[in-house]
Assembly symmetry: C2
Homo-oligomer: 285 residues x 2
């Protein structure tokens, strides 16, 4: 299987948010080669119809297959929420890993109260995939999901801290968690707290906003970011199928459908290392 | 020419922002039929590469030609900034009206100091079309343009007033205009004011945010919204070519490339009247 195991891992996202997942994958799997495809020409997926997202996702999977990948990580929550099965069928028998299952795993293990909150894009919320994934694992759980579309634009714009980011985070989260102060009072005063004890970041853009989100929900709530759990799930899958790279250095091939300059500039923040515009190939899907 | 003059006017935008322009067109031309095409599957155009925007714009013009339109209004500033000539070539001899020329006309007539500010999307700003259009009309003018991408997301999300909208408007505009208070001091104290006296809303989403924008810049700056001047330019063009509708009631055919429900819900706010989801046709470009 050495030939197959040396092939790259395909990672797909609607844009650059998935680079937060790629970062976790590289940390967990430092000997792998990656091909990262961001469909930047057609982002955001989060406000589009389900059938459109499915069509785009399958086209992206086809493009990654052309690069000879050995498996595909769907790093876009929206694509996972509606398109994961279509991608699996398309690339069978290659393994396909999404971010929603691992995120639900982590949330269900973390939550003590069983009340789990999820913030995501409009499409992910209306598709109901997080509710379903969490309830499959913990049927007694209470799941509160909310669409926070403006947080995506905020992260894309690089406004990840300061008063604007904080007021937008509070706008979306205060209703669910109460003001950070009130939250303490509720926990201290009541026997069963009415607020969730776990918040799942159900969009790959949101880890960039973790500081204002933390300030809006207070220190007691556990934040679950599916990137790290997705990386561990991928490592297990590669091991089980004898597909782990035999060794060597990590490398990434960056591919985008539009805006190479912007991909490099904004993507550098998400990946945590500089991406040069010359590193990014432009393709048409 | 009666046959031709009875044909609809095609209006094209990357999404729903252009409905603010359509609203002005209907007010100015109450006897016309309109076909409004919003390329909602591929918005926003404002962060995409110029060649991508040109390709999408020409496809949209083709689709409007299929509806038998007598002229085309490009209600998207980004499409105008890079794609207006390509559209003109494609649909020749039909007249094509953009929003940038009329916006520049209004700004140049309005400004007394000759210092004109423009807020727009990233692509419109980097294309330089507003700078060029204003300097063609007033070569001595000083033009300050700035990209305000987050304002687009804010309008799309319907957060057009309140503390979040105000803090984002201040974030973009305070650097140019000074805090609203400081602005008065500058005007009162100095002989030549260093701040612009005219602000062009160079994106069709921005009229929805006029209140927080006004608060950020103070009461003295004139705000130019190109919708009304575009409507007057269109009326002149139709008159000159003997293409004005002979009479009858106004009607609109709404066409979108994705998200009919969202188009109806958010678009109603931009158009100023309710759009039912059943009124919106879905097409693929």
């Amino acid at each position: 299987m050495t030939g197959e195991s040396a092939r790259p891992i395909g990672v797909f996202d609607s844009g650059i948010g998935g680079l937060t997942v790629l970062r976790a994958l590289i940390e967990e799997l430092p000997h792998e080669r990656f091909a990262y495809l961001g469909d930047t020409a057609r982002l955001p997926y989060g406000t589009k119809a389900a059938e459109t997202v499915v069509r785009y996702s399958v086209q992206a999977a086809d493009a990654l297959m052309d690069y000879g990948v050995k498996c595909i990580v769907v790093a876009c929550n929206t694509a996972c929420s509606v398109g994961l099965e279509s991608i699996r069928e398309r690339v069978r028998p290659l393994p396909v890993i999404g971010v929603i299952g691992p995120g639900a795993d982590a949330a269900c293990l973390t939550s003590r109260s069983g009340h789990i909150a999820v913030i995501a894009t409009e499409r992910t919320v209306s598709g109901g995939a997080y509710q379903q994934a969490i309830l499959e694992r913990r049927p007694e759980a209470r799941v509160s999901v909310l669409a926070a579309q403006l947080l995506v634009a905020l992260a894309e714009e690089g406004l990840s801290e300061g008063p604007i980011a904080e007021s937008i985070a509070r706008h979306y989260l205060e209703g669910l968690f109460g003001a950070a102060d009130a939250h303490f009072k509720l926990e201290a005063g009541a026997a069963g707290t009415p607020v969730p004890d776990t918040l799942v970041l159900g969009c790959t853009h949101f880890p960039a906003l973790i500081e204002p989100i933390r300030r809006a929900i207070g220190p007691r709530v556990t934040i679950v970011d599916s990137a790290a759990t997705t990386a561990r799930a991928l490592r297990r899958e590669l091991g089980a199928r004898d597909l782990a790279a035999p060794g060597g250095a990590s490398s990434v091939r960056f591919v985008a459908t539009d805006g190479v300059e912007r991909f490099a500039r904004v993507g550098s923040r998400f990946l945590g290392r500089t991406i040069a515009p010359e590193e990014v190939e432009l393709i048409d899907l």
